[in-house]
């Protein structure tokens, strides 16, 4: 492989991406997982490759930028208002629960926090795909599930920023927490102010030049600058990218801007999951097997609790709430993102956890209707 021109190898890689995506579509496997496995398989060739790492970083920045584009400030507030109870429960049960479990197993503070983060967020992409394939997009609990996933999308960049800051300064003191919170607040407020007072005035400008071929420079430039700014002040570039997207959605041209960026995002994003795969080393086998198994069980319990109690707070009746909780178990891209901050030993653990939870999640998703019927039937008999 060393004697072939890089261009050739890059081409082979992209064709591999094509094959993976196509096969994943046909066999209903989440492509995210297959990309990680490909990275794992290519460790001897690609480990430490600078280009892959750069592309991975661009990929993740664009992913969160496009995500932020979908959400204007008004929309975020609207969704947060309906889902915050369930959202907080989600943080407490899934992040908190896993964090505590990791501490019980004698992990250090930072590793426990990272494990909490990995267990916290359900996979938005896998869930959305499952909903669509199983024709459950129109179900009454779907709105709840999607809102919860978005709440997680909002919490995750902030969580990641904390973990990134913690990573560089191992001691979590009150002072550090306040400092990080202040930085997050400052960055967010900056985005809100610039978005509301600045970008909202750009609607006509963008309308006029949307057909041009240079608007993309502006978009991606803003995304990179704000992400870089976030990194500069010690937070995660993901938060910066997301906020940049929110800023630009204030222009009101979200869907057109998204269309500009989706092709680039779609090419670069798989590199992130590929890169993650190349960072995993199973040198010592799978570490901490007992903790892994307990976390998997807790992953299921945690989400069922959120579905049941949170769903009720959202206004769902029993059966749809159970269905929702049982359908949110799969973890995926967010967990991978958080795991990428971890130390190598933790990465192997995390990747096994993520793959298993995705697999378990898909099974529970399919069984959710039957299980929720049984669970709510059981309750009826009690009464």
């Amino acid at each position: 492989m060393e004697n072939l021109p890089e261009l050739f190898s890059a081409g082979l890689l992209l064709i591999a991406f094509f094959c993976i995506s196509f096969i994943s579509l046909k066999f209903n496997i989440p492509s995210v997982l297959v990309f990680i496995i490909l990275g794992l398989a290519l460790v001897p060739v690609l480990a430490g490759n600078e280009t892959i790492h750069l592309l991975a970083e661009i990929g993740i920045v664009l992913m969160f930028f496009v995500l932020g584009l979908e959400f204007s400030i008004a929309k975020i507030l609207r969704i947060a208002k309906t889902i915050w109870v369930a959202g907080i429960m989600d943080v407490v049960f899934n992040f908190g629960g896993a964090f505590v479990l990791a501490l019980i197993f004698k992990l250090d503070f930072l590793s426990a926090a990272i494990i909490g983060g990995i267990v916290y967020a359900s996979s938005s992409s896998i869930t959305a795909k499952l909903l669509e394939e199983n024709k459950r997009l129109a179900n009454v609990e779907t709105e709840f599930m999607l809102a919860l996933l978005i709440f997680e999308d909002l919490v995750s960049p902030i969580l990641i920023s904390f973990l990134v800051a913690l990573n560089s300064d191992q001691n979590l003191s009150v002072g550090l927490t306040v400092l990080i919170l202040a930085k997050v607040l400052a960055l967010t407020l900056g985005a809100v102010v610039i978005g509301h007072y600045g970008f909202s005035k750009l609607k006509d400008f963008i309308d006029n030049y949307i057909e041009s071929d240079f608007l993309t420079f502006l978009m991606v430039g803003i995304a990179f600058i704000y992400s870089g700014l976030a990194m500069y002040i010690g937070l995660s570039e993901i938060l910066g990218a997301f906020l940049a997207g929110v800023m630009l959605s204030e222009t009101g041209n979200s869907s057109e801007l998204e269309h500009l960026l989706l092709p680039i995002r779609d090419i670069v994003l798989p590199f992130f999951f590929l890169w993650f795969g190349t960072t995993i080393s199973f040198g010592g086998g799978v570490p901490m097997l007992p903790l892994l198994m307990i976390l998997i069980v807790w992953s299921i319990v945690g989400k069922i609790l959120v579905g049941t109690l949170g769903g009720k707070a959202f206004g769902l009746s029993k059966r749809p709430s159970y269905r929702a909780g049982l359908s949110l178990i799969q973890r995926g891209e967010f967990s991978v993102i958080i795991a990428s901050i971890a130390l190598p030993q933790l990465m192997a653990f995390s990747s096994v956890y993520i793959i298993v939870s995705a697999f378990v999640g898909v099974i529970f998703f399919q069984k959710a209707p039957a299980l929720s019927k049984w669970l709510s039937g059981k309750h009826k008999k009690k009464a």
């Binding site: 024709k135 179900n139 709105e143």
Partner: protein, 164 residues
């Protein structure tokens, strides 16, 4: 009949319709244009009784049929008129449009072009079958129906932009 609208973030818009006879129909409009139609016996069911996927083009054609534009039970002589192509178009009313701030009656759209205004989309509202006294505002989206030439006439008459 009850219609409930909700936003499915990341997916599109969901309209849940409960008809007088108790049928629950859900129409999902994806961001990328695909429309899904679902039928539920009970809204809390696990799965719909059936679902249909329509692309943008199919959805619009079926929509015009449902609107009674393409087909109406009529007498034989009127049937001849309906065999010619009648379309539905959306027009964006720009600030410099000659329709801006006029009422439908004042604008004399039907008289001058032969096109009928079926509805006005304003912000998040849709005014169906508007009164002739309804004022057309800037940034309104007019839903009009007519044959090809009248629509062209409306397009060239004003600098409103045809969104179709």
């Amino acid at each position: 009949m009850q219609i409930k609208t909700s936003d499915l973030p990341g997916i599109g818009m969901k309209h849940a319709i409960t008809t007088a006879s108790g049928d629950n129909i859900i129409i999902l409009t994806h961001y990328h244009g695909q429309r899904d139609i679902y039928h539920f016996d009970d809204l809390e069911d696990d799965m719909p009784t059936f679902s249909i996927e329509l692309n943008d083009d199919e959805a619009r054609k079926i929509g015009t049929i449902l609107l009674g534009v393409d087909y109406q039970p009529v007498t034989e002589e009127k049937e001849e008129c309906f065999s010619q192509e009648i379309r539905i178009h959306w027009f964006d009313v720009k600030p410099n449009s000659c329709l801006a701030n006029m009422t439908i009656k004042e604008a004399q759209i039907r008289k001058k072009t032969g096109v009928t205004v079926l509805g006005i989309k304003r912000e998040h509202d849709f005014i169906g079958s508007p009164d002739p006294t309804e004022r057309i505002l800037v940034n309104d989206k007019l839903m009009v129906t007519g044959k090809k030439d009248p629509i062209k006439r409306l397009e060239s008459m004003c600098s409103s932009i045809n969104l179709e």
